[in-house]
Subunit: 351 residues, 2 copies
């Protein structure tokens, strides 16, 4: 089986299913795809996400339905194709693993969670490269080694970073790194409701960062919250307890300092580049006219001194035709960059 | 007084005081500066932030001390220089206005809040341009019109956007757009403490955005929380109530959808470009090798089709030498940009 490409059937032709179909098809895999919605299925076919199932039983079934029905579809697939290995792509894993185990066919089920990380949906947005260089979590649960090996060929073909963990640990982790942050960001945004729009205009980059994910549509969050309720509530309880402790503290200044110090320690553990912990990049903030070409010139002048830009933030100024662009670079190169940019006539706002 | 430049004395030679001193001195203002710390004062002098006070009483005093002592220093300045107008730059305004009013000299006090928005501190980081194109809030309180007019000349000289509001409204607004978001971001980060570092590695751009401000040092947050405790607690209570309602809801899916919808409505009110509401930019995500020069080439190929880049995010891939760079552009130009970039050989990961 490791030499021939597995006959792969995808159930669900939304963004994730169609993108996997396009990606695997591009690698020469024999892919079929189906969707309960005939229009979605036809669209996926038309963009090369896979053909019709036909008479051959699949070797591998990838369930890419909404999370709320993923468990039932996995169970159905395990029963319908007794020779197939089944995986699914839902972002909550333990409830689906439990449903698979309950069929007695748990040895043929392996959980997957490809972390695409963009707020898109629908087959029209599908791209074969959607997962390239992204984490793809594999939860082996009680699966047979051969089943795990087969499922691992999918992220390998799509050039993903494979992360292996057990389903409950995965669900606990995504509650803290993804589900609760989404809810908290929405709660911070909702608290702006008390303000007049003129007052909201005092917002700076900090608020824009905190609430960026609060700007997207609810999408599958209802399903995710229902399936991962236990871990989500546990994480919210942690956050609520910290906020309550702070509001009831004798000295709110000391309490804020303590909370910020604890949060800061954790932020340093969030990976930045190449799997390492976030480095402290140095920011060089430049005043850039808000017109085409100026950002290009800035990057060009930066490249002249062979400094790599690790991150960029652009802050548009209210009511003025300039923006503040911050280039994040290795701290050891910041002074040199500032000198080079100033010699090219750039106004440095901060460094 | 509107023709001659006011003799201006700055009390406090940290980042804000020294930056104002440099900026006003560059515009020809006669500026003096003092700091309780002789070394900080000497440093500020050496970088052109102002001379020694001398015998002349100032026309304008700018108090740029830490917020915890700003009220006392404002009171002292109002009493020491009976002919001077006094302002301060603390990020909480009502307690200082109350202290000024209590002296009976409230007509000569005007609150200021320049919103520099960068996490820097110390006179060494001082830049005359620190406030350029940023909001500068003026709280007139009970000040005489001539006093307000004099203080307004400072943000005018520093090319800031002036926003006028009363002190209590200012404090209520910054609690919601700045103080509570900082606390909430730190609480989200602190909740990562339960996770092994391997699990924190599942973090995506969403968590990095939410917790970015949680990575900075506590700095003046203790002072700010003490001075604005009432408004901060009121905002935290709003956030806690939303999180509590969610955890206790009969259907957590419905509750999450409702909270996300409410948050989304508010996010749309956060100003983006030129004072307008945030537009829905279209994101074009490109796979970019993580080496100097590639980002430049990408911007160059973008400029070829004369598309303005409104914002950029760069996401480094763990363990792979590529990054995902998303260019945010006018939605009407996105398709054209994708075609142009593809014709130049760029891999588009999503659009």
């Amino acid at each position: 089986m490791s030499d021939t490409l597995p006959r792969t059937h995808i159930v669900g032709a939304g963004l994730i299913g169609a993108s996997i179909g396009i990606g695997l098809s591009a690698e020469g895999w024999p892919v079929t795809i189906a969707d309960a919605d005939a229009q979605a299925e036809a669209l996926a076919r038309s963009i090369g996400a896979g053909g019709p199932l036909g008479d051959h039983a699949p070797d591998l079934v990838i369930v890419a339905t909404p999370p709320s029905v993923a468990g039932a579809v996995v169970v159905h697939a395990l029963q319908a194709w007794p020779g197939a290995v089944v995986t699914d792509v839902a972002s909550v894993k333990a409830p689906i693993a439990e449903a698979a185990d309950a069929t007695g066919h748990g040895a043929r089920y392996v959980g997957s969670h490809p972390m695409a990380g963009r707020e898109l949906s629908g087959g029209l947005a599908a791209q074969g490269d959607l997962f390239k260089a992204r984490p793809w979590v594999i939860c082996p649960n009680g699966a047979a080694a051969a089943a795990v090996e087969l499922v691992l060929r999918v992220p390998a073909a799509l050039q993903c970073d494979v992360v292996t963990m057990e389903a409950p640990a995965h669900d606990a982790a995504v509650a803290r790194v993804s589900h609760a942050p989404q809810v908290a960001a929405s709660a911070v945004a909702a608290a702006l409701g008390a303000l007049h729009s003129d007052d909201v205009a005092l917002a700076g980059q900090g608020l824009r960062d905190v609430t960026r994910i609060a700007g997207s549509a609810p999408g599958m969050w209802a399903d995710i919250a229902r399936l991962n309720r236990g871990h989500l509530v546990e994480t919210l309880d942690h956050i609520i307890a910290d906020l309550e402790d702070l509001r009831e503290s004798d000295d709110i200044g000391e309490a804020v300092t303590d909370l910020i110090e604890r949060g800061r320690f954790e932020v340093a553990r969030i990976p930045g580049k190449h799997g390492g912990a976030t480095r402290d990049w140095a920011g060089v903030t430049v005043i850039v006219p808000d017109e085409p070409g100026h950002l290009l010139k800035l990057l060009g002048d930066t490249a002249q001194v062979d400094v790599n830009v690790e991150d960029i933030t652009i802050e548009h100024s209210p009511r003025q035709p300039v923006g503040l662009t911050t280039l994040y670079v290795l701290p050891s190169r910041a002074a040199e960059l500032v000198a080079a940019l100033e010699s090219q006539g750039w106004e440095i706002a901060a460094s």
